[in-house]
């Protein structure tokens, strides 16, 4: 029978010919199907049900099956199929749950033949048996599949998938009794038509609904499925477990999939939403479609190859109310337009780059530059894949270049070191800040260091401050710095004249702060500048002095304090350093213009609404009224934002933690910092951060998956989580091989023989012997 079918349908002498052409339909199509001799096509949709003849240059409407003044819902088709044996026989699946057959041989206008209304919900798919004339299968939203014998009035058998709605049913082309059904919950089931009680096998093919499936026309074991998860998968079901052998990732959910005749590895797909193109894929090359048809203006709803044995013509119907015949030769080939290039990062930051030979040789040295100043050793490698004659692909030869990164420049050492050395809790706020400032300074990150110091100043309790400063030796740059920076930006750089303009002792005091200022300037400009080391020393030399100058009013009468300011002589020579540094002014200008103000300047912005010389009036209330810590919050928040955006989420999070509830939490910084820490395998730090975070969503991170499943060491069965005795073999599990007691707590064991025990005991044991303490003779290894 099977043989015969193939003989009759095989392409005879009358080869199919035609061109890419289309015609307008009156309404959107839901599905199309061709008759056996490939001369006619039926289009079905909610408001359309027509047969068109395929002629050389055009479609010609043959028959309108949608008759009657007010057509019933039985005409509203979700699917249609033309029988491959009997060219008068059609079946449709109606959205109201009816399965209808049509006999074109009927003399009357209404060709409706039989009506089965056994399904309770929409019927998604009908399928004729490829070789048996009277057998029709349907799959419905209600979860049932029904097999009809067209000679009878009702279904002969009902198959219950037991798992939600059926989206597609397909008879196997080669196995007489087998059919496949795909389901909304991602499963695919294979059934034997003779056994309606239970499916033969089931496997989960997709995540989410499987919209379609198609048997390979030649290879009996291959089934292609397409799902909402945007994947097309090819399954080999000849093996015990269905094995995924190919997978194509598309850009939208896959509505239909059809194997291309005569081409073993080709299949056509169209999508349910968003994407209107039809793709033909070579499943062995799943990254770029082999060919695309881009004619439709709305989603393609039905595709079918025109003839069983002719790979050259594809028919498609669409929601845009057109019916197309695509000639394969006219398809666009994305491969031709694609530049075969590949880019990949190596483990240590190396970069491999493969591109067309012609591009590489043409580009020459100009390519070289972007990849850094340092150790760029580029060595092109050429290799060829042995051409496979069965594959019809253009062969490209590419040049592969590997760029080695300069390990030094992109090192994340500072990150790791900082993470390890920062203190986030356990000490008073001031000390934490000082410690972290010191760490940052030692790692040559002065800006960060300065930020820490300023935070301390801002948030320390005025009462504690005096003590805090006396304890700390570290550099504390008082707030005033920022005023000075503003000053320079606004007032230009006349160093001497500035001194002249200075009024009163307060002004002198600000000048005395200049060294710190120069430090900041340098840092802002370039963290690696050697010069920044120098001023830093001065700064910290001054620190104590400044503290004394700036904070005396904590314990003294505020009215007297103006007189207290004195001009430290040491500061003067330093001023020249700033002047000497030519890059400072431009740099500052830049900074002022740029929207992202650094922490330092942000302060200036907020504290000095009036520019330049208003220092005295502004700074006074600062000290007199003990600005509440919350006064700084916006600035600090901006500063943190700046750090986070600049990529230094470490700083942002560390500050957040140290500040504790002084500032609002920012959840996603935490998550990214934790993520980074874990990538650098800084588990301890990451756990500390999780623990210290004030955000409870983060906090519960280390409370997830805290369950440890253990198997009994004797019977190898899973232990129930009660007690230390296995339920099944009634033996104590996890006994120390040395002391023979149950280990509660840290259990260390050899991966080789799986014997082990208390950490201490094993350590002691291994000092004297390298054999397993259990006496199994294994030479235990612990790393």
């Amino acid at each position: 029978m099977e043989k015969m079918a193939r003989v009759t349908t095989a392409l005879g002498s009358n080869t199919i010919s035609g061109c890419t052409m289309f015609c307008h339909l009156d309404a959107p199509a839901n599905a199309i199907s061709v008759c056996r001799d490939a001369a006619q096509v039926v289009v079905a949709g909610r408001n359309i049900f027509k047969i068109y003849a395929l002629e050389e240059e055009q479609f010609v409407e043959k028959l309108n099956l949608r008759v009657g003044r007010k057509p019933s819902l039985n005409f509203s088709c979700a699917d249609v199929m033309w029988h491959q044996m009997d060219e008068n026989l059609l079946a449709t699946a109606a959205t109201n749950g009816a399965v209808v057959t049509w006999n074109l041989g009927k003399p009357s206008r209404n060709k409706q033949d039989q009506l089965f209304t056994e399904h309770k919900r929409t019927v998604n798919k009908v399928c004729f048996h490829p070789t048996e004339v009277h057998m029709l299968l349907s799959g419905s939203q209600d979860g049932y599949m029904k097999c009809f014998d067209l000679r009878k009035k009702e279904s002969v058998s009902t198959f219950s998938g037991q798992s939600e709605s059926v989206r597609d049913v397909q008879f196997s082309i080669r196995d007489y009794f087998t059919f496949a059904a795909s389901f909304e919950n991602g499963n695919v089931q294979l059934w034997d038509i003779r056994r309606p009680d239970r499916y033969e096998r089931m496997f989960t093919a997709h995540n989410g609904p499987v919209f379609c499936c198609d048997w390979h026309p030649e290879d009996r074991g291959w089934l292609a499925t397409g799902g909402r998860d945007k994947m097309v998968k090819v399954w080999d079901i000849t093996t015990n477990r269905a094995k995924e052998i190919h997978c194509v990732q598309t850009i939208a959910s896959v509505a239909r999939v059809k194997w291309r005749p005569e081409r073993k590895y080709h299949l056509a797909t169209c999508s349910m939403m968003v994407d209107h193109n039809i793709y033909v894929w070579d499943v062995r090359r799943p990254f770029i479609p082999f060919a695309t048809f881009e004619e439709h203006k709305d989603v393609t709803t039905g595709i079918v190859w025109r003839h069983l044995h002719d790979p050259g013509f594809l028919l498609s119907g669409s929601k845009d109310s057109t019916l197309y015949q695509h000639k394969f030769k006219d398809a666009s080939r994305p491969v031709d337009k694609a530049n075969p290039e590949g880019l990949c990062f190596g483990l240590f930051g190396d970069l491999a780059f493969a591109a067309k030979e012609s591009l590489i040789s043409g580009g020459g040295d100009s390519n070289r530059k972007p990849y850094g100043s340092g150790g760029d050793r580029r060595y092109p490698i050429f290799f060829f894949k042995k051409p496979d004659l069965t594959e019809q692909f253009a062969h490209e030869s590419s040049a592969l270049s590997v760029f080695e990164t300069d390990l030094e420049s992109s090192r994340m050492d500072w990150f790791v070191k900082t993470a390890r050395r920062y203190l986030l809790s356990g000490k008073p706020f001031g000390e934490l800040c000082d410690h972290n400032a010191k760490v940052a300074k030692e790692l040559n990150r002065p800006q960060v260091s300065t930020t820490w110091t300023m935070l301390r100043v801002m948030y320390s309790d005025p009462g504690n401050l005096a003590t805090a400063t006396s304890i700390s030796k570290g550099g504390s740059i008082p707030l005033m710095n920022s005023f000075n920076m503003k000053e320079i930006a606004a007032g230009g750089l006349g160093s001497e004249s500035r001194l002249d303009r200075g009024k009163g002792e307060i002004w002198q005091d600000t000048i005395h702060l200049d060294p710190g200022n120069s430090l900041i300037n340098n840092n802002d400009e370039n963290e690696e500048t050697e010069g920044s080391e120098g001023p830093a020393d001065y700064l910290f030399g001054d620190a104590e002095l400044e503290d004394d100058n700036l904070y005396p009013m904590e314990h003294e009468n505020p009215t007297a304090e103006e007189a207290e300011y004195s001009l430290p002589q040491e500061a003067f020579p330093l001023r020249h350093e700033i002047v000497d540094n030519p890059s400072v002014p431009e740099h500052l200008q830049d900074k002022v213009d740029s929207p992202h103000v650094s922490g330092n300047e942000a302060e200036a912005v907020c504290l000095t609404p009036i520019k330049s010389f208003s220092l005295i009036s502004i700074s006074q209330p600062l000290y007199e009224s003990h600005l509440p810590a919350s006064f700084f919050s916006p600035v600090v928040r901006e500063m943190l934002q700046h750090y986070a955006e600049a990529g230094d989420v470490q700083m942002a999070v560390s500050v957040l933690i140290v500040l504790g509830d002084r500032i609002r939490k920012e959840e996603h910084w935490y998550t990214s910092y934790i993520d980074l820490l874990q990538r650098f395998e800084l588990w301890n730090v990451s756990n500390e951060v999780i623990k210290l975070s004030t955000s409870s969503a983060i906090n519960c991170l280390n409370q997830t998956s805290t369950t440890l499943h253990i198997n009994c060491s004797n019977c190898k069965r899973p232990m129930s989580n009660k007690g230390w005795i296995c339920d099944r073999c009634h033996q104590c599990a996890s006994i120390c091989a040395v002391c023979h007691h149950v280990v509660k707590g840290l259990f260390v064991w050899c991966q080789g023989c799986s014997h082990g025990g208390h950490l201490e005991h094993i350590m002691n044991w291994l000092k004297s012997s390298s054999h397993c303490p259990a006496g199994c003779g294994h030479l235990c290894e612990y790393t």
């Binding site: 909610r46 007010k70 019933s72 819902l73 039985n74 509203s76 979700a78 109606a94 959205t95 109201n96 749950g97 209304t117 399904h119 309770k120 919900r121 929409t122 939203q141 909304e184 989410g208 609904p209 919209f211 909402r228 939208a252 959910s253 349910m272 939403m273 968003v274 209107h276 203006k297 709305d298 989603v299 929601k319 845009d320 810590a629 919350s630 919050s633 916006p634 504790g660 509830d661 002084r662 500032i663 609002r664 939490k665 959840e667 996603h668 004030t694 955000s695 409870s696 969503a697 906090n699 519960c700 409370q703």
Partner: protein, 545 residues
């Protein structure tokens, strides 16, 4: 912004770690007591600032209200007790402490019915703890949903993702859109809740003066909000185009999807809030009062909900009233199931049945007016307050029926959402499925009932009101299964939820348990959300093609 600085203090209370909670509690109580002492026993004026829209967390009243909330709603017993004792101490100092207005999370359901947070089963408890940890509060909505932990989990996950996780819109915008959507239904509960959140994530308080003070971009959304809330079938691709092509105020597609999901979420959540009679949150405006209880405030429902006496009487009364209602319903379901094949309705018949149901849904008058007192002037968050639900098909403006088979959530909606706002499609899909498939196979006092038919009837009836038709559904079933009072309830709840009253809630399905009524409300809410979403997404799809 001061708001942020005070809140950190409270976060520790949500920790699972008991010692962390203790420390946090200690902090809070010291802070409160010290402030209380400062104010001293004379503080008559505290009543005034109560109504001020923005209160700083350092305000003592704010703290006391929060303590009150925690003493009732915190899932941890230790925190509850401690809060209570702190409040007591404050009162001893002589400062007036607040007391909750209204009782329990819902005005319709007696408090003892709603699983008390301390007595819930383990699964609910875990979900509550998670929710509490994430938000620092446990809102009344979650408490009522606690009847159905499976759904609650999915709901909270979705909501958390929409509001907190990665998404194209900034955090404060999300809350603002929530406010806009809830305000459309005058749901002051949700509005208050999100006003607080909005300020907490650093939103500009000026926006709260009204939509006109919000950025242009959000103002544009007002139109879509209005249509989606009341007549979603009128959304066209022109609306979408207006939003996406507005020069510098234009939305991106991803942002729009996010906004649409938020809008529909909050429209339907407003429905749920009203239909379950959710009380205002204790710590929000209208949830508590500093006035001592007086006779004038004393009303019947206070007693009723306090210890449930009155309600019980009513309930018993209802039971004796119509004992056979449930049986009748079950009988009908059985009949429908059996005689489906015999009485084969013609296609025309089916079509007219849909039309009839549709027109009848129009006749079902949306309930009598009853004044609800919006404590915050919510109407300023939207424009055109006169715009309301109009019946789907009325003479004159004929809108074509939306065929569910042509644009379904599973096939089309999901794909679109997932493309533009990854993960949310999945979350919503799960939520819809859980809501649609949720069943305990019980009906009132009967066990092992297949309720799928009933659930489908409710779901499809709601979609029918929005003009969505399922080809494969016999709308005659609705008529058989849903009686008139129930239809009135559904219609009111879905179309103008602000008019829901306790009487309506009580009068449908009288023998059913409260948990079952909440279940129905969940169904209504999800069906409504899906309907709105389908219209919006279809318009977006049309725009894209």
């Amino acid at each position: 912004m001061d708001i942020s600085d005070g809140t950190g203090r409270w976060d520790g209370l949500g920790s699972r770690d008991i010692s962390t909670r203790e420390i946090a509690m200690e902090n809070v109580s010291q802070e409160v007591l010290s402030r209380a002492e400062k104010i001293g026993p004379i503080c008559e004026e505290v009543i005034q600032p109560l109504r001020s829209p923005v209160r700083s967390p350092d305000d003592l009243n704010w703290m006391l209200a929060r303590l009150l909330m925690l003493s009732r709603r915190c899932p941890y017993a230790d925190v509850r007790e401690k809060c209570l004792s702190v409040l007591q101490n404050v009162q001893d100092i002589g400062v007036r402490i607040p007391r909750p207005l209204g009782q329990g999370p819902s005005r319709f359901i007696p408090e003892k019915e709603i699983l008390q947070v301390s007595k819930v089963n383990a699964k609910t408890q875990v979900i509550f703890e998670d929710a509490f940890a994430a938000l620092g509060r446990l809102d009344n909505i979650s408490l009522v949903m606690g009847f159905h932990p499976q759904y609650l989990e999915s709901f909270l996950r979705t909501q958390h993702y929409l509001l907190q996780m990665d998404g194209p819109l900034s955090l404060h915008c999300r809350h603002y859109i929530g406010i806009m959507a809830a305000a459309r239904h005058q749901c002051s509960n949700l509005v208050n809740l999100h006003v607080n959140d909005f300020l907490q994530v650093g939103g500009d308080p000026k926006w709260l003066n009204g939509l006109k003070d919000a950025p242009q971009k959000l103002q544009h959304l007002g139109e879509l909000n209005k249509i989606l809330a009341h007549r979603p079938w009128l959304v066209t691709k022109a609306h979408i185009e207006q939003l996406l092509k507005a020069e510098e105020h234009s939305w991106s597609l991803a942002e729009l999807i996010h906004a649409v999901v938020l809008l529909t979420h909050y429209h339907s959540l407003a429905s749920f809030t009203f239909s379950c009679g959710i009380s205002p949150e204790i710590h929000c405006d209208g949830g508590h009062t500093f006035r001592p209880p007086s006779i004038s405030n004393y009303c019947a429902c206070d007693i009723a909900n306090g210890n449930g006496t009155l309600d019980e009487i009513q309930g018993n009364h209802a039971l004796t009233d119509t004992p056979c209602e449930v049986e009748a319903l079950m009988e009908k379901m059985k009949q429908l199931q059996e005689c489906r094949d015999e009485e084969e309705a013609s296609q025309e018949e089916m079509a007219t049945r849909f039309e009839r149901e549709k027109t009848e849904s129009m006749l079902v008058a949306a309930a009598e007016d009853e004044d609800s007192v919006p404590t915050r002037d919510v109407s300023r968050h939207f424009e055109d307050p006169s715009y309301g639900y109009k019946d789907f098909s009325r003479r004159g403006e004929h809108v074509p029926t939306f065929r569910a088979q042509d644009y379904s959530w599973e096939d089309h909606g999901y794909s679109l959402v997932n493309r533009l706002y990854p993960d949310v499609g999945q979350l919503l899909d799960e939520k819809f499925q859980i809501a649609y498939n949720l069943t305990y196979n019980t009906m009132a006092m009967h066990q092992d009932v297949d309720t799928s038919m009933l659930r489908r009837a409710i779901w499809n009836y709601i979609h029918c009101m929005f003009g969505i038709r399922y080809d494969d559904y016999d709308y005659g079933e609705i008529n058989q299964l849903l009686d008139r009072s129930f239809k009135v309830y559904i219609k009111t709840m879905v179309c103008s939820p602000e008019k829901t009253t306790k009487r309506m809630y009580d009068s449908f399905w009288r023998q059913f348990k409260h948990s079952e009524k909440v279940h129905v409300n969940l169904l209504l809410m999800e069906a409504r959300m899906q309907a709105e979403l389908l219209y919006a997404l279809r318009a977006i799809t049309h725009y894209m093609t």
